[in-house]
């Protein structure tokens, strides 16, 4: 029976990566000296599973590498080896190498063999540092040679005396099965010795009391005979003797019965041989491994692991839906006007179930943010030692659930922000002490749900942002003019400008300031926003708001002429009707209006999208939707607001093509299609640049 092992690879990779995360976080939490046995057990189990799976699914290199880690962990687990910081560090690095190896195997890429070899050597060094006597075992496991028994004598068969101990059957073994196995090896004659049967009153029906004399008339290797008794060698008296050509039982080769210790040894050794002698399956799997490399897109699509309760609730929901449907169709078969209340009730039920179903389906895509957070303890540990800073990381709300896509895309921006906090935010211990702060700085990662959004805060108690310093920096870089007037908040937001580096010296930790603008761009792409709060000398807090899901969006439906558009609710600050005195024409640069203390550009939607149908032309007759994107605000001029809806996002790129100013489309209740606005794109399209409106503040 041939089974394509490649079908299990995806699951294997997924759980291996999960295992690596467990190992990593476990190792990070490990306190040399005081060992939590469950913790090290969990780490060991993860390594053990990866090793077993890798061996089974044909990744011999991964299996071999993990074996060394496992050996080391096993010794730690058994208390045979002290847990030292050195060993933990080496294990952590090995986790990284293992992750590379697994990634390479998954994508069919190349692994950095030199790196693997170096790390193997490191592991061996730690392993050998205190004689754990495991090293030779590791060698023999990998490369035991073909141990062929020196049976040069003309053996034509085997004579076996098999005397089970009374309890043999209570191990689940069955003498009959063993005898059958002889038959599979060749012609066998068996005689049964019933001398062991006791008197009836002493007879225990569950005891094994028969014994057998077995003659196998086939010149098989001895290990094949031994293998039959592999499981029971301690539960019976066994003698395996050669039958020579003279068909006379020559001098019995004493085996298991007299010398139990040497017998298991060759048996155990011969097992790896079996596997070595049987390489085709492994090789087959090796080929399979390369196969998935071509459809790389396929692997990246990935699968998702869903808790059973979530699936159950889905099925429940579908059940309810089916009941409602059958109720409605029964109602429809013989409809009478007096059934209208029933119909309405049914429709209300349908609506409720549909909404619940929608929520449950969304739940399937939800994963705890800990998938993203889990990498930070390591990052903070590594970086703080590199930077010579004392930093404690606190994580709150790790179980907050977020859409899988958000999890995948928020990782890099978060890493960047945390690195910034460590590098630029938290001061050196001496500086902190001098400022009267505790030497150990604190970085808090906090995730929570707030009104349909997920909020992620990165908060440090470092030196905070210096607005004036940032301002001067921007001026000296030519990004601003000296006489520009900015609020404190605007000054903080300068760090999001492209080409702005705050570090006095560029370090290899947070790079050269190209990041923050990219961070903001990535977060905006996810439909989220980012804000900074800071106080000089006290700390900085960065707040990221993200939609819970990328598949559904809360939108404001607006009308422009005969077109309807959806404005994402997250971008909307407010909607107002302008009075004539608010409107201001900025010399040749377009229309603006004054909202409280700010001048904001007006973007006429009918101009942006060339709506030719009859539409409102007079600003005072329509409405202005004040939106914000990438720190810019503007007023979108529309005819009317039609209401707020949850809309399902359909990709335009997949179904049509990329359209500037539009992030997607949706289908409204009446079946018509409405475009979802990409506010950043709309502002860009309109050519309205906030810079043009910043100056007339003094006006």
């Amino acid at each position: 029976m041939s089974i394509d092992m490649a079908q299990f690879h995806q699951v294997f990779f997924e759980e291996s990566f999960e295992g690596l995360d467990i190992m990593e976080s476990g190792l990070l939490d490990m306190d040399p000296g005081a060992v939590d046995s469950e913790q090290i057990n969990a780490i060991f189990r993860a390594a053990h599973s990866i090793k077993g799976g890798a061996g089974t699914f044909g990744f011999a290199d991964i299996s071999g590498f993990t074996h060394t880690m496992e050996t080391l962990l096993d010794e730690m687990r058994d208390g045979r080896r002290e847990i030292t910081t050195d060993a933990v560090d080496v294990l952590l690095k090995s986790v990284d190498v293992l992750r590379d190896m697994l990634t390479a195997a998954q994508d069919g890429g190349e692994v950095d063999q030199a790196n693997v070899d170096t790390q193997s050597a490191e592991l061996k060094r730690v392993l050998d540092s205190r004689p754990g006597q495991e090293a030779p075992a590791a060698v023999s496991d990998g490369e035991s040679e073909t141990v062929s028994e020196a049976t040069s004598a003309p053996v034509i068969g085997w004579h076996v005396v098999f005397r089970p101990h009374a309890h043999l059957m209570r191990t689940g073994n069955d003498p009959l099965r063993l005898l059958k196995e002889f038959r599979d090896l060749g012609d066998t004659s068996v005689s049964c010795d019933i001398g062991g049967i006791p008197e009836f009153h002493e007879y225990e029906p569950e005891d094994a009391c028969l014994s057998w004399d077995i003659h196998l008339h086939e010149a098989v290797d001895k290990y094949q005979v031994q293998e039959i008794f592999d499981w029971v060698e301690d539960d019976c008296d066994l003698a395996i003797m050669e039958i020579h050509d003279e068909s006379a039982p020559a001098e019995a080769t004493p085996a298991a019965s007299e010398a139990p210790s040497p017998a298991p040894a060759p048996a155990a050794e011969s097992k790896p041989d079996l596997k070595l002698a049987d390489p085709p399956p492994e090789r087959r799997a090796g080929v399979d491994r390369r196969k998935p490399s071509k459809p790389a897109a396929n692997t990246s699509a990935g699968s998702i692991r869903v808790d059973v309760p979530k699936i159950d609730s889905l099925i429940n929901m579908v059940g309810e839906l089916v009941i409602t449907q059958s109720m409605l169709s029964m109602l429809g078969e013989d409809f009478d006007m007096q059934d209208v209340p029933k119909l309405l009730e049914g429709l209300a039920q349908l609506e409720r179930h549909t909404r619940e179903l929608q929520e449950s389906v969304m739940q399937v895509r939800m994963m705890p943010i800990s998938f993203t957070f889990s990498r930070f303890p390591r990052l903070v540990r590594d970086l703080s030692s590199k930077l010579n800073k004392k930093i404690e990381l606190k994580m709150i709300g790790e179980s907050t659930e977020v859409d899988k896509t958000v999890i995948e895309k928020i990782g890099d921006p978060l890493v960047h922000l945390v690195r910034n906090s460590l590098d630029h935010g938290i001061e050196l211990p001496e500086v902190r002490a001098a400022a009267g702060k505790p030497e150990t700085g604190t970085v808090v990662l906090n995730a929570y749900h707030k009104g349909g959004n997920i909020v992620i805060e990165i908060k440090d108690d470092g030196k905070g942002l210096d607005g004036d310093f940032l301002f001067n920096k921007a001026v000296s870089k030519g990004l601003l003019k000296e006489d520009d007037v900015l609020t404190q908040q605007q000054k903080y937001e300068l760090i999001f400008m492209a080409g702005f580096s705050t570090a006095e010296q560029i370090s290899d930790v947070s790079g050269r300031g190209v990041g923050m603008d990219v961070v903001r761009k990535n977060i905006n792409e996810l439909g989220g926003s980012i804000e900074i709060e800071s106080e000089l000398g006290v700390g900085t807090s960065i707040v990221i708001r993200l939609p819970l899901t990328l598949a559904i969006l809360d939108g404001q439906v607006v009308r422009v002429g005969d077109e309807t558009y959806i404005v994402p609710l997250v971008s909307i600050i407010e909607s107002i009707q302008v009075r004539p005195e608010m409107i201001n024409l900025v010399g040749g640069k377009g229309e603006a209006f004054k909202l409280r203390d700010e001048y904001l550009p007006i973007v006429r939607m009918h101009e942006v999208f060339d709506v030719s149908a009859e539409h409102v032309e007079e600003l005072t007759e329509g409405l202005l939707v004040i939106v914000e994107a990438e720190g810019r605000k503007c007023g979108l001029f529309v005819d009317d607001l039609l209401g707020q809806h949850q809309v399902v996002i359909k990709s335009l790129e997949e179904n049509y093509g990329n359209v500037e100013g539009v992030s997607g489309a949706t289908i409204l209740g009446d079946g018509s299609v409405a475009l979802i606005l990409d506010i950043t794109g709309v502002i860009r399209l309109s050519g309205a640049r906030q810079d043009d409106f910043r100056l007339p503040r003094s006006a």
Partner: protein, 120 residues
């Protein structure tokens, strides 16, 4: 057809075992650890148990010990999946009442061969 309880905390191994055995016509029930397996086994008697050794909550050896103490599992073949090259784990398993073991890594054919042998 004979029913087999496959116990492993690793989903890929469990799937592989289960897929292979189902392909050969066996009835397979899966469990992710010893506790789950023990509950299933109490509920429904199976003809063979194949269990991993290292698992959270209850490991394979404790599972075997518990199962062997159940009257209906007195003679049931209980196999452990083991990667340990040392004889120690096997001995612990035997002492707990294991029938035998399958050494990891194994391929589906080896697994089926062993299962066929045990179930006759």
């Amino acid at each position: 057809m004979a029913s087999i309880l496959a116990v492993d905390d690793s989903a890929s191994m469990r799937q592989m075992v289960s897929f292979t055995l189902k392909g050969a016509g066996y009835d397979v029930i899966e469990a992710a650890d010893g506790v789950e397996a023990l509950n299933i086994a109490r509920d429904k008697s199976v003809n063979l148990v194949i269990t991993d050794v290292n698992m959270p909550n209850m490991d394979g050896i404790s599972l075997i010990r518990e199962l062997r103490n159940l009257p209906s599992y007195k003679f049931t073949p209980l196999l452990m999946l083991t990667t340990e090259s040392s004889a120690e784990k096997k001995q612990q398993g035997k002492a707990a009442g294991a029938t035998g073991w399958i050494v990891k890594p194994f391929n589906p054919d080896q697994l089926l061969g062993t299962v066929k042998k045990v179930l006759g």
